[in-house]
Subunit: 157 residues, 2 copies
Amino acid sequence: MADEALFQFLHSEIIQYVNTAETGESENGRCVSKLENMGFRVGQGLIERFTKDTPRFKDELDVMKFICKDFWTSVFKKQIDNLRTNHQGIYVLQDNKFRLLTQLSAGKQYLEHAPKFLAFTCGLVRGALSNLGVKSIVTAEVSVMPACKFQVMIQKM
Amino acid sequence: MADEALFQFLHSEIIQYVNTAETGESENGRCVSKLENMGFRVGQGLIERFTKDTPRFKDELDVMKFICKDFWTSVFKKQIDNLRTNHQGIYVLQDNKFRLLTQLSAGKQYLEHAPKFLAFTCGLVRGALSNLGVKSIVTAEVSVMPACKFQVMIQKM
């Protein structure tokens, strides 16, 4: 519980700091992209540690399952609740109680702030996948807090 | 190990980001003070969780012991190696292998970067103490990496 709290508090601080530091016309977009970039590098670092002793992955789906189970559990203390794919390079990862959103009130008026709270994690997934040789675009959407969906679009080389 | 890595990577990212964002004449000082402030708020949050179920502390020394043992172990996975005090409000906490410095090379040429890697933790301790009713000033010094000393000066109200 302690580690979790540390990560959550630190994550909130970063959002707040980046949000204040990035002032300018397109501030919100820049804030989100800075957070995404931080997540990317953290994801790259983490996946290296996590996969140090795992056997080579069979295929893309195998990689995605690892992200949904082992990776998610390490970072967010729970698995992804639902993984869907169209078998053409699009994966949807649904987390019904996303830990970084549980601190926010569930009211509809806060939905506009959700992107800031998801950007780091989008980057985290993109970074992890990138270091496993899978190039992707990761986006997130929230309809009802604290549930959220991450969409991973694999970029074929 | 996973959580630890997450915290370490995130901590590095913050330092890097804050260091880049705070440009200006006194940039280094501002970077350190921003990091210290983030640590302060995270420390405040953490100590609330950690002490939820602990009995009331006897005195100042009791509080310091809690910081050195329980608090340090939760955050850095080890206890403080040595706690000294002059019994007049100054405490010196020595960590012989401070986790946030182990990523840096031990060469002397990197000593000048050490303050950036200690600022967050100084704030963390100050924030934790503050929420336990102990007002303090916390500074840190490194002579040989990755050992470091945190000096806590209690401010009498």
